[in-house]
């Protein structure tokens, strides 16, 4: 089967826009179908967020497996895929992280062409501010590590930062800017479009995307997965991939095992739209604040996580207050902005702040979770590595280090120490 993402909808192009303009846009087809589930699939993927859809896409494209259902309890891309701050970067410290995140960034660079769907990837440059002496040392170390990993990053001085970003106040006093880790290839993309583009391509390959279909139980026999019981009936499968972020522990319990995951709320907020003033993505990790300006002109601000288990998709007020208070010192102009919206997502945190792509104690059940606060940037790379794992039953080079066995073996990929914060 061909992996053409345009079957069923026609190719999107400037000519298609001109043609549709002539007939008052009556000819656009639905980008993906909404079928009822079949009785059996070769692979069932739980979770139609970015990671689930990307896994399905690369299963079809790289491994020729298209007998796939992607089932979703809510709506497509309505979880963390639609709730993040859309930051894309690959400047990680550990080799295993750099490999999978840089694979992801490289796939993002060509993703609009690959999917024939404009994901509005904007490699505008990403700057992580060092605001303590510890961060200066930590980020310099990351720059050196990145050079060994063939990930282009550089250390920039406060003066250069002020040139790049005139709205910044580098003088402190409480959080002076002492320098920064700059990745020119980093940036943002339109988060919904990533999910929609993958969904259209999966649907074109003949995969079934089944929304508002909640998994209620996982059926196993002799240590192997048999089927999932859902609100739309029983669906048999040869292989099951659980890619459900904050709900991973709930699904794992249905299958009879536990994960080293805790679910907590992470929040973001956007301001009223203003004229272009910030053409970089800024991460201020000491104060847990992330800032970028959307194409609509809104300042998109991400904050820190709550410390306690939470499934409510609402976070604590004081975290917003802390984030905004700290950012206002570094970006005084923010103090005059009204905030329009605030929302929360439930992120799946592992102890070492690195993801899990792994086989499980149950045969033919695979998990992809633990991306915590930094999953959006990883969507294509995660899908690529997960498809390899599901298709072959064993992880490929990208996923090998991220198995569940690393906890028993004490072989952590410790990005919490490396970055000092959530990602």
């Amino acid at each position: 089967m061909s992996a053409s993402p345009t079957r069923g909808t026609g190719k999107y192009s400037v000519f298609a826009i001109a043609r549709e303009a002539m007939r008052l846009h009556t000819g656009w087809k639905r980008a993906w179908a909404s079928p009822e589930p079949k009785k059996k699939y070769k692979v069932v993927i739980v979770g139609a967020g970015g990671h689930g859809l990307a896994t399905a896409y690369y299963l079809g494209k790289n491994h020729g497996i298209t007998d796939v259902a992607i089932i979703e309890k809510g709506w497509l891309g309505g979880g963390n895929t639609g709730r993040n701050t859309t930051i894309i970067r690959s400047n990680y410290l550990q080799d295993a992280s750099a490999a999978i995140f840089d694979k992801s960034l490289k796939l993002y660079e060509d993703l609009s062409q690959d999917l024939n769907y404009n994901i509005m990837f904007s490699p505008r440059g990403l700057l992580m501010l060092a605001q303590t002496e510890h961060e200066v040392r930590g980020y310099k170390r990351t720059v050196y590590a990145n050079q060994l990993q063939n990930v282009a990053t550089e250390w920039v001085t406060p003066e250069r930062i002020k040139e790049m970003l005139p709205i910044i106040n580098i003088d402190g006093p409480r959080y002076p800017v002492l320098g920064g880790l700059y990745q020119a290839r980093g940036g943002t993309a339109r988060h919904d479009a990533v999910a929609w583009g993958y969904a259209r391509a999966c649907s074109a390959m003949g995969m079934d995307i089944i929304q508002t279909c909640e998994v209620k139980g996982v059926e196993t026999a002799n240590g192997q997965v048999r089927a999932v019981n859902t609100t739309k009936g029983r669906i048999e499968c040869d292989k099951l991939a659980m890619i459900v972020a904050g709900n991973s522990s709930v699904l794992a319990e249905m299958a009879g095992f536990r994960l080293p995951i805790e679910s907590v709320a992470l929040q973001a907020l956007v301001s009223e739209p203003i004229k272009p003033c910030c053409d970089l993505v800024i991460m201020a990790n000491t104060v847990h604040g992330y800032l970028s300006q959307s194409d609509k002109g809104e300042m998109v601000i991400g904050g820190g996580t709550d410390g306690f288990n939470n499934y409510s998709q609402r976070g604590s007020w004081h975290h917003i207050e802390e984030t905004v208070r700290a950012l206002v010192e570094t970006f005084p102009m923010l103090s005059r902005l009204k905030m329009l919206r605030q929302w929360g997502g439930i992120v799946d945190m592992t102890g070492d702040r690195s993801p899990i792509l792994s086989t499980t104690p149950v045969g033919n059940i695979f998990v992809n979770c633990g991306w915590g606060t930094g999953g959006f940037k990883a969507i294509p790379g995660s899908g690529w590595a997960m498809a390899e794992l599901v298709a072959n039953g064993t992880p490929g080079p990208l996923a090998a280090e991220f198995g569940l066995n690393r906890f028993r073996e004490g072989r952590f990929i410790d990005e919490s120490v490396a970055a000092g914060v959530a990602h």
């Binding site: 080293p260 709550d306 306690f308 906890f407």
Partner: protein, 123 residues
Amino acid sequence: MLTLTCPYCGIRAEETELAPGGEAHLKRFGPGASDEDFEGYLFARKNPRGVHFERWRHAYGCGKWFLAARDTVTLEVYGTYRAQTPFPTPEIVAAIQARHPDWTPDFDATSPTPTSTPEGLIQ
């Protein structure tokens, strides 16, 4: 904002005054335990969608650790109790069952358990 009553000093503390400490009532496994048990104790967590028993510290108050029963979906608090309590108390179980009649404890509160009142502990 989340508010918990500290069972030691009786203060109704809001969350900026408290430090969360993760799942409560973990069974410790140490030297001599199997790798599987030790891994489970260190890393595996229930992380339930619903009733959760957890540790908190009244960090900017009396400084003591205590336990709380809380719902991770509605954020409702069913009650707090002292850290030396080996299982959630009958009052806590009753409070949970008043809200969720189908909920049954996954622990056996009648079984003998080691008490955790070493000498010198300030009660």
